[in-house]
Subunit: 193 residues, 2 copies
């Protein structure tokens, strides 16, 4: 890498707390994108906390199932924790399927500083990837209420950004997320000195 390239590399710094809400099917790439964005932000010294769907279920929602009511309760809990962190200046990245539009919009209202990103891949592609081996089981009828197979996924109508993980690689997606956050003035960036 030449000196010139280094000089134009952005240095991202923190503006204020906000919640970056990734929503999409299981296997669409939410956790991977969350990690890539978090890494990039941390390099600039930004305080980032990632709330992964599985981890949060373990810590806050053990005992809840996958009915609409239980899913909504789980999402409200993530939203509550995200709100507390956000209002204390932390950048929160949520990576939960969050299939229902209404509760996502409730969480958006509750938090205020909220950026919704639809992490999008077709069901066919998610089934093909089957990162956790869950689609095979869901399609075989071994898991009930599986989003996209036997449970609905409601796409966001007006997300701040759509990331198509079938058409672009993780690095490109992470850059697009950062660009959007800069544009929305949640982050500040400038060329490195």
């Amino acid at each position: 890498m030449t000196h010139g390239q280094l000089a134009t590399k952005r240095r991202i710094t923190q503006g204020r707390g906000f919640t970056l809400w990734l929503t999409g099917l299981s296997g669409a790439g939410k956790s991977t994108l969350a990690t890539a964005v978090a890494d990039e932000l941390r390099r600039g010294g930004v305080r980032v906390e990632t709330l992964d769907g599985d981890e949060v279920r373990q810590n806050l929602s053990k005992g809840l199932g996958f009915s609409r009511e239980d899913r909504d309760t789980n999402i409200r809990r993530i939203g509550y924790v995200a709100k507390l962190l956000t209002r204390n200046g932390v950048v929160v990245i949520s990576a939960a399927i969050s299939p229902y539009r209404a509760v996502r919009n409730d969480v958006r209202r509750e938090i205020g500083a909220f950026v919704e990103v639809h992490v999008k891949a077709s069901l066919e592609e998610c089934v093909r990837r089957d990162t956790k081996g869950l689609y095979a089981r869901a399609l075989a009828g071994e898991i009930a209420q599986f989003t996209g197979v036997s449970d609905p996924y409601e796409e966001p109508l007006a997300p701040e950004l759509v990331i198509d993980t079938e058409r672009e690689d993780v690095a490109t997606s992470a850059t697009r997320v950062i660009d959007r956050l800069l544009e929305l003035d949640y982050l500040r960036g400038g060329p490195d000195a």
Copy 2:
């Protein structure tokens, strides 16, 4: 207040994130003390988040009851949220009864930067105050599993501080908490300029 008194008034500033964990019977004065300490810290620009037992139950633990298992689950959830905030530099004040010693110690280990304060008043005094009208109902047998009446309260064996709310007023107690936090190097303080 004379100029001299003003000059010796402490200005409290933030060191690092930590959790101030208040434990004690219902009516012992946890929420009142939490508010007084939080106000004092905020005057110094410290980021403080108070996790009140009732509010957290509403947001994170709806559906949980008051069995030992459910109480412990509730406390673990508060501990999880406190950990996330603490490691992002926020001062967390928890004001939940948290009657069981073992789970309090688990939360202490999990969080690390943890200061346990036993907010202490005799059962007789709590019954006399009966701030929420709950003791009357518990003693009449209308509420089961009520801490101190029909459910145990395990006092901390080695809390960082004991506050006797029968013997001192709120302002004194808040000052003693701040003093202890300064002593433990969680806060920094100096005379106002």
